[in-house]
């Protein structure tokens, strides 16, 4: 009881000190001076599980507010009790941050966010009953997303719990989110091959169905911006087998869905930009030799070295001199933002369709590091696992259509960037050398497009010349080694 006596002694002393000071009892305003036990409880768990966001009110207007619904917990449970909120209105959240803790029938569930954005509204108080399928929070997101429920992420693809449902005579089993996805893309569930337990249709089934139809997948994915067939990066796999031609015998009309729909949107936005084109050819003979010499070295380190790392690095070196090509113009055409990082995008043909992941901060990377990063992106792309971080934030793009074929092209700029380059195939062509002799040179054509509102022809031309110089005499890049 020592603590009690001590505690009470403090009380006694504190309270009586005033009374001894003045002989009669008089209420006094005394500062309470109590030792408030501050709840300094920090949960420094691994980032993967809980990432506490510091509170700051976000005044930037992001984008549409998405209703984030409570997903199916499984086992037919329709309601849960909200036990603890980890966020409040105004908090910034990232995808996979914990939002709240709910409880149902002895199961404690942590609900994590599906989107990046700002929490705008909490629908329930602590200890309130939340309904599965009803909105849990409103999140103001950065980009347009389909309104979906909290989807549980497992490494490869989204997985969801199942509810047994029957609708309108279709005995198809699928969760509400899957149904919505199907509805938005005008897919009949009966046409989709179900791979889930007991014949349930999963989200992957819908996505597979779509990709078979259109060759690409759903949001958010920056789209193709070249009018020629989709490119494949140089020095990677051979082109996929040609599909067997099928004679149907009649016209087929189908509504635009998924990939095409998104492309229409992107292209309409992109072609609002006044483009101009500039083309040139680059003699890569020396680069071919350099690469051949370096390949065994990188091979030993387990890195595949194609030409792309050189193209990308040369572009970055060029952008240092011409920052207006690594910029962005705002919608109202009032301000131009010169981006500090050179996040150079690379068009890639993946199982998810045509995507443009970017290599971040190329200005800080060496050619080898770029090659490593490209390998990583290519592996992810092949596995269909490219994440939002890799796909957003690009400032400049290179598209290697030459890996499939073609020489000159007229690429379409991907907003909010202002320039793009399309690289044709490397051909061995006769050229005159310095002494007037005909020699075999490795020639690659390049086609640049730029936003004529802020870039003029001369700038593009000078940039292209600089870029070409770095590639025609790769030893010049040595001068810039740090």
């Amino acid at each position: 009881m020592a603590a009690v006596t001590r505690g009470s002694f403090i009380v006694f002393r504190r309270l009586l000190s005033q009374q001894y000071r003045c002989r009669c009892f008089r209420p006094q305003c005394v500062s309470s001076g109590r030792s408030v036990q501050t709840l300094a409880f920090t949960r420094d768990r691994t980032q993967r599980r809980f990432a506490w966001r510091t509170l700051h009110t976000n005044t930037v207007n992001y984008g549409p507010v998405v209703q984030f619904k409570l997903s199916d917990i499984g086992e037919g449970i329709m309601e849960v009790t909200v036990k603890e909120w980890y966020v409040k209105e105004g908090d910034k959240v990232s995808q996979f941050d914990s939002i709240c803790e709910v409880q149902s029938d002895k199961a404690s569930v942590t609900i994590t966010s599906r989107y990046d954005g700002v929490i705008r509204k909490l629908y329930y108080e602590v200890d309130a009953t939340a309904q599965v399928g009803m909105p849990l929070v409103d999140i103001e997101t950065e980009s347009k997303v389909i309104q979906e429920e909290d989807v549980v992420e497992t490494p490869a693809m989204d997985q969801e719990e199942h509810t047994h449902q029957e609708i309108k005579g279709h005995k198809t089993q699928a969760t509400p989110a899957v149904r919505r996805l199907a509805m938005e893309n005008n897919i009949k569930l009966s046409e989709v091959v179900a791979t889930g337990k007991d014949g349930r249709i999963l989200k992957e089934d819908i996505l597979n169905f779509l990709s078979k139809q259109t060759g690409a997948i759903l949001p958010p994915a920056p789209m193709q911006h070249i009018q020629t067939p989709p490119p494949i990066p140089v020095a990677i796999k051979p082109a996929p087998a040609m599909p067997k031609p099928m004679f149907t015998g009649k016209d087929v009309t189908e509504p635009l869905k998924g990939f095409h729909k998104a492309m229409v949107k992107t292209m309409t936005a992109a072609l609002k930009i006044p483009h101009f084109g500039y083309c040139d050819e680059v003699d890569l003979s020396r680069l071919v030799r350099v690469r051949k010499d370096l390949q065994p070295v990188t091979q030993a380190q387990g890195v595949k070295l194609s030409y792309m790392p050189f193209f990308i690095k040369a572009a970055s070196l060029g952008l240092l001199h011409f920052p207006s090509l690594n910029a962005s113009l705002d919608d109202a055409c009032q301000n131009i933002t010169y981006k500090a990082s050179h996040n150079i995008g690379l068009a890639m043909d993946t199982s998810q369709g045509l995507l443009v992941p970017n290599v971040k901060n190329v200005q800080m990377l060496s050619v080898l590091e770029i090659a490593l990063e490209l390998n990583r992106l290519q592996t992810l792309g092949a596995a269909g696992q490219l994440g939002t971080a890799d796909l957003t934030g690009g400032t400049f793009t290179l598209s290697n259509i030459g890996s499939i074929g073609g020489t000159y092209a007229k690429p379409v700029i991907l907003p909010p960037e202002v320039a793009i380059g399309a690289l044709g195939k490397i051909q061995i062509l006769p050229r005159f050398d310095a002494s007037g002799q005909v020699t075999a040179a490795h020639i690659m054509k390049v086609s640049w497009s730029a936003d004529h509102r802020i870039i003029d022809g001369a700038t593009m031309c000078r940039f292209s010349n600089l870029w070409r110089e770095y590639l025609e005499t790769p030893e010049q890049m040595l001068l810039h080694l740090k």
Binding site: G7, S8, V36, Q37, D44, S108, E153, T154, Q159
Partner: protein, 351 residues
């Protein structure tokens, strides 16, 4: 009932060794924890959930702990168990990450944790594996899993309760299995103090109905059914090994901290009456106490004396002292009482 000395029946933990069947593509791993420390074992569960890739893989963990009371994630420890009795008996309190009710653990209780990815989360299936195994060992036993995910013996004795946790990628479902627990110790600590609580209400079958089950004991040969198939022999894990489980020490200390065990209690209020009597003047009075507790701390406290025992100003001072302190009914009330006495006496002196 005396706690039977724990002799590890070899068959109890050589679960799958007897019933190794076809390898399923799911790939099941079975582990046993070496530790009998409740916090370490809970930390191990937590570590596995966060760090092991459970796509297409199931993991079973078998563990037991020394005497401890384990409350669910959102429960109120003061409502569920008697802190004073626990302190006297040296029984620690732990709050687990999963939901559900309060259980008493000791060596006579076997815990089973079934880890899987969320897609394969299926508690009924897990319990079926357990009941099948029990029936295979002792065919005469009438054990059944209920809808509430308890396992019931002879239709009336609860021998197992479940709880689970689901997070972004992984899930686990754990259950107890009483085979020779100390019933009297259990009853003495799982007696709540009289408090008003808004925490998760306890399950229908209260702990005092937990049965003595002398039938279900030592020679239980516990075989997992071919339900899951088994793909690896039992391996023993040491949760105190930081090199095997980096970060587990931190998880265990977090689970031991006051902030987790008590600080995570949902808001609740206490309404009670205390009797005060003055030895000198033989005055008696009662006081109504209304305490609100949030995050385990006294967020507000209100004392109303029956007679005008103390001026309002002093009462506020008194309450102010306790506000923000950690809630501990024993200490808080005693403190309040003693302080009230002292102040009153001083007040009387000065008057």
């Amino acid at each position: 009932m005396v706690v039977s000395a724990w002799t590890t029946p070899p068959c109890l933990f050589s679960a799958g060794l007897h019933s190794f069947s076809k390898l399923t593509e799911e790939g099941v791993l079975i582990f046993q924890s070496k530790s009998t420390d409740i916090h370490q074992n809970l930390a191990l569960e937590d570590w596995i959930e966060s760090n092991v890739d459970l796509t297409n893989r199931r993991l079973f963990l078998l563990w037991r702990s020394r005497a401890a009371v384990v409350i669910g994630r959102h429960q109120n420890p003061w409502a569920e168990c008697n802190q004073e009795a626990m302190r006297n008996a040296g029984v620690p309190l732990a709050r687990r990450r999963s939901g559900g009710g309060t259980v008493y653990h000791d060596i006579g209780n076997l815990n089973l944790t079934f880890f899987s990815c969320r897609k394969l989360y299926d508690r009924q299936r897990n319990l079926k594996a357990v009941t099948d195994a029990l029936r295979r060992a002792r065919p005469e036993l009438d054990v059944r899993a209920t809808e509430r995910l308890d396992i019931v013996l002879d239709g009336k004795y609860k021998i197992s309760g479940s709880a689970s946790r689901l997070s972004r990628g992984a899930s686990y479902h754990h259950c107890t299995l009483l085979h020779s627990a100390d019933g009297s110790a259990l009853r003495s600590v799982l007696r709540p103090q009289s408090l008003v609580s808004t925490a998760t209400p306890p399950p229908v079958l209260s702990p005092t109905h937990l049965p003595k089950v002398p039938k279900l004991l030592n020679a239980v040969s516990f075989c997992f059914s071919p339900e899951f198939g088994v793909s690896s022999p039992l391996a023993v894990l040491d949760p105190s090994d930081e090199s095997l489980f980096p970060g587990i020490g931190r998880i265990a200390s977090e689970l031991r901290s006051w902030e987790w065990t008590f600080g995570k209690t949902p808001k609740f209020t206490v309404q009670t009456e205390i009797n005060l009597s003055d030895d000198l003047t033989l005055e008696r009075t009662t006081a109504q106490l209304h305490i609100e507790v949030k995050n385990g701390l006294v967020s507000s406290i209100d004392v109303t004396f029956q007679h005008q025992w103390l001026p309002q100003r002093l009462i506020h001072e008194l309450c102010g002292v306790l506000t923000g302190e950690r809630f501990c009914p024993h200490l808080n009330l005693a403190l309040l009482k003693t302080a009230a006495y002292l102040v009153y006496n001083a007040f009387v002196l000065v008057r």
